[in-house]
Amino acid sequence: MTETDVKVVYKRPLGFTDRTTHYCPGCTHGVAHRLIAEVLEEMGELKNTIGVAPVGCAVFAYNYFNFDFVEAAHGRAPAMATGIKRTLPTKTVFTYQGDGDLASMGMGEIIAAAARGEQITVIFINNTNYGMTGGQMAPTTLPGQKTSSSPLGRDVETQGYPIRTAELLATLDGAAYVARRTLHDVRGIRLAKRAIRTAFEVQKQGLGFSMVELLSICPTNWGMNTENSRNWLAEHMLPYYPVGDYKVSTAVSEMKIGGN
């Protein structure tokens, strides 16, 4: 093989800084970050993007992406993104939020942003618990699932039922594209990337609100190694939170995606 035949097939995306992330080993936050960085790079949007970080394990996301970023108050990222997007409508604006942030603290803000058809993209990490604060029950915690604040397992009689966010937001006319994907295996990750690309294209073409929910693992708070976490996700989360496209508006279904 001559030198010119050497082909780089895997490299650090241009959208990343050279900081090492603080995420636990095996955590899929890093995978989600990478997919976003790759998509924005492929779309040529890196210089035109403003990210909104959540309060949760991804609170320092702005240390890892190398474009403009703001850090929201807990749950308020969609409102903050609205303020930015309305002021600078030609920018690509996205929020990155966990399930406690988006579906508990910020349920009002996310529903309102989706209903307004806000031209923003939301990447939503569903790991069935509050990772950052030590694994408490989240709105997404499954029935019977043990967490540090539901030590006997989530009792639906007193603690209610999990929220299926993608299905919920899909009912809103302002939402143009709402999908759920999983990060627990390679095929899932590939499909997740395609959905993230679609979501950002929807925004670029001004078709409305877009959100991709990503089923994720939290090995640390689940108390499992990475492999068992992935299996647990497949076995327990996938049946409750089926992957799929929950909302594809007519305009989105007719949308042409450049590149890939």
Binding site: I50, G83, I84
Partner: protein, 374 residues
């Protein structure tokens, strides 16, 4: 330019647009709503952003995002809504962003009512959100003054990268008065180099209120407090009336100050040497002016449409040199000039006890006057 008869809320909205407001985010609440309604028509007309948010939490966080672009943004509300905004005000302050907010204060606590009040003094002047930060708080006493302060608020907010709040009671928001509106200023639409989305920044921009490392947070707070010292040096505003030869001074801001002025004028006609100090900047407070007066007058009367929130500040500045008396109405009630006139008489003829429990004395009087409803 000709004078126009305009309602306070609408005059502020118009003044903000003329000052170059690019985006507005708000939520309806009486007695502020006309401000939002006016902008809902006018902002889109001029191609600027208007969003009726889902809540005041939504509104202040939209303002937070918009302010990260460094372009002129504002929100307005009334007391219950401003309580909800306290979270955002702390974050915005911790991110050093220029924002203008308007609080058209109403009677409380709780849902209270929609009548004029000044009882948001403490939550705005002494903080309502968590952590160490200051807002600049300006209190107009007429619609014209509200218009003038609105334009200035944006300039000051940008100069110090701080939140500037206009505090006015509900009557000023609702009142119509002849005003001269300023000319339209050129609008800035490109973010400055320090903001996100700017074509001029050399490196990428991150806006955050986190300083996870305590020494860094402490250094940041030292910087913010040093900036506040600058604000205290440069931005104190008040108006004095008949202070030169005054033996007794009434202190009141906004509408209470305006009503007190009638009472002071009446007292002057009776030959009493009474003056009025009307703070315009409640934060930074005209501490020096009060301090100097305390060295030469025989006593103060603080007049507020609250339970004496500014009273505590005056008492601490005067520091028992001369007596400080208090007269206030609460819960959406507005004092009449003769109530203040009678409080002035009590002060002049009183015992001149520097240890007077002004609030206790006033409250005993209030129990007799209005009762406790029990």
């Amino acid at each position: 330019m000709a004078l126009e008869l305009i309602k306070g809320n609408i005059a502020i909205a118009e003044a903000a647009m003329r000052a170059g407001l690019i985006s507005y985010f708000g939520y309806p609440i009486t007695p502020q709503t006309e401000l939002l309604e006016h902008l809902s028509a006018r902002m889109p007309e001029l191609g600027r952003a208007f969003v009726q948010a889902e809540s005041e939490l939504g509104a202040i966080n939209m303002v937070y995002g918009a302010a990260c672009t460094g372009l002129r943004t504002m929100t307005s509300s009334s007391s219950p809504g401003v309580s909800l905004m306290q979270e955002g005000l702390s974050y915005i302050s911790g991110t050093e962003l220029p924002v203008v907010i308007v609080d058209v204060v109403r009677g409380g606590p709780g849902l209270g009512n929609i009548a004029p009040s000044q009882a948001d003094y403490t939550q705005l002047v002494h903080g309502g959100g968590h952590g160490e930060y200051h807002l600049i708080v300006l209190a107009p006493a007429s619609v014209q003054e509200a218009v003038d302060l609105t334009g200035m608020a944006f300039d000051i907010a940008e100069k110090y990268r701080m939140v500037v709040c206009l505090l006015l009671d509900g009557s000023l928001g609702q009142m119509m008065e002849p005003v001269e509106l300023p000319e339209f200023k050129p609008v800035r639409t490109t973010p400055p180099a320090w903001a996100v989305g700017s074509p001029d920044s050399k490196e990428r921009v991150v806006m955050t209120s986190i300083n996870i490392d305590p020494p860094t947070q402490e250094r940041f707070n030292v910087k913010m407090m040093t900036r506040w010292q600058e604000v205290e040096k440069n931005e104190v505003r008040y108006k004095g009336y008949y202070l030169e030869d005054a033996e007794y001074v009434v202190v009141g801001f906004g509408t209470a100050g305006r009503i007190a002025l009638s009472a002071v004028r009446a007292a002057r006609e009776q030959g009493l040497k009474i003056g009025l100090l009307r703070p315009i900047s409640l934060s930074p407070f005209p501490t020096k002016a009060v301090d100097e007066l305390a060295d030469r007058v025989k006593g103060f009367l603080v007049v507020e449409m609250s339970n004496g929130q500014m009273l505590d500040d005056i008492t601490s500045i005067v520091a028992r040199r001369v007596p400080v008396e208090f007269y206030g109405r609460m819960g959406g009630m507005v004092p009449y000039p003769d109530e203040i006139a009678s409080a002035i008489n009590d002060l002049v003829q009183g015992e001149h006890d520097v240890d007077v429990d002004a609030r206790g004395k006033w409250l005993a009087k209030m129990r007799e006057l209005v009762g406790t409803g029990e």
